[in-house]
Symmetry: C2
DNA sequence: CATTAACATACCGATGGTAGGTTTGTCAAG
DNA sequence: CTTGACAAACCTACCATCGGTATGTTAATG
């Protein structure tokens, strides 16, 4: 293959293909050769020029998955004029409207066979996203008295664990009704910390979208 | 090696060694040959006589890890004369007194490099332990009015996710103080569902044990 | 004495990774 | 504007190791 003047295109291409293959076959069962076969003529040398190992590819895939979400979280966190409670509400509204990246729907993700991605997401959630994005918002909420807790760091972790892992349909695929129930329990949990952010509008939107998701899931099943 | 009249001894030996190697080097980086080298003269044929694949060994290791915990949960669940609230309290008391199996302390577990074990634990927690052991107790608690929720199944999941994963020092190693804070947030969460099970005695016992754990951890660090 | 469980040995294809070469764009010196 | 040194972007051929298997051997059982 001819040398590409814009190597980031090649890198993105590799990550695109790797991501799809990981989701379809699982990380362990996707060989480098398999990725090569699905690239348009690129060789093993090209891959190992841009990535130092197979695991390195996985990490890059993982980073790219969370990048957009983290951007959103940072934007809301730094948004002036919003109270802590309003910021949390905004985050959950956004999350519902874009529950997972669109392109993910098309490949019928299988986190069961991607334990490495799962564990990566888990640790990123607790050790990066929670302290970097949610904690400052919780602390703001404590100041304006909309959040009640003596342990903001741990609360941030618990909230994000529930939201990103437990309620993540890519990890625990839930029926429409189950997703709704999870959200209700999540709401009750937040109320225990003084937070009251789930309203009718959010629930209606949620019900809409879970039905869409369930349908797209059924149609892409083998 | 001479033929063993009691093959379960051989099986247990293999699992013992595999568990240690998985914890020390991670599942992926532990080869079958590595396990063989740490077995006293047993061969690859022996291993593949008792287990059909490397993954099969991992599953057996995982099962053995949760077996004792599940036994305890079943015993408490079926214990007559205890209210739902009392059962939950008993479970957490037991969990604190035996936070993880003793033998685990000695090998400085590393769940970071054992994503397969982690993902196995995660799914067992949500899809087996929660509905089988915690859900019946929650339902009993709803009847005797010590638990307040319309969604017992989801509450069981959330509680066990927090307890087994988030508060598990093998997954997220926390300082003494952090463990305490997590427990306090956990308590506040439970109160949001009408549950009031953490008392002074439990907190004192917790502080004792986390200090012991922290010390044993330091002494086994390389 | 036949059968079967409990091992051992020797081997295989596939895999992740590497060494070394080739092409091509960049850029500064002449 | 040309040239040539350099490095980045690839390719090819190869290797050690891995998970797994086929085929044996030995010993307990009934």
């Amino acid at each position: 293959m001819a040398r590409n003047k814009h190597p980031e295109e090649t890198i993105n291409l590799i990550l695109d293909v790797a991501f799809r293959r990981f989701m379809e076959k699982g990380y362990e069962h996707t060989s480098i050769q398999d990725i090569i076969d699905h690239l348009g003529g690129l060789s093993k040398g090209a891959i190992y020029h841009h990535f130092k190992s197979k695991e390195d590819i996985l990490m890059a895939v993982s980073d790219r998955m969370t990048a957009k979400s983290n951007q959103m979280l940072a934007a809301i966190r730094d948004c002036p004029g919003l109270s802590g409670k309003e910021k949390l509400k905004t985050i959950f509204k956004e999350s519902i409207n874009r529950p997972v990246q669109n392109d993910i729907f098309t490949v019928a993700p299988n986190f069961h066979s991607n334990s490495k991605l799962l564990s990566s997401l888990l640790h990123e959630t607790i050790e990066e996203a929670a302290p970097d994005y949610i904690l400052p918002i919780i602390e703001q909420g404590i100041e304006d008295c909309s959040v009640k807790t003596d342990y903001p760091k741990q609360l941030a972790e618990l909230i994000l664990l529930a939201a990103n892992v437990w309620m993540n349909p890519m990890i625990f695929d839930s029926s429409e009704k189950e997703t709704y129930c999870k959200f209700m329990v999540f709401d009750q949990m937040l109320r225990g910390f003084g937070l009251d952010i789930v309203d009718k509008e959010m629930l209606e939107r949620l019900q809409e979208l879970t039905s869409i998701y369930t349908k797209s899931r059924q149609s892409s099943a083998r």
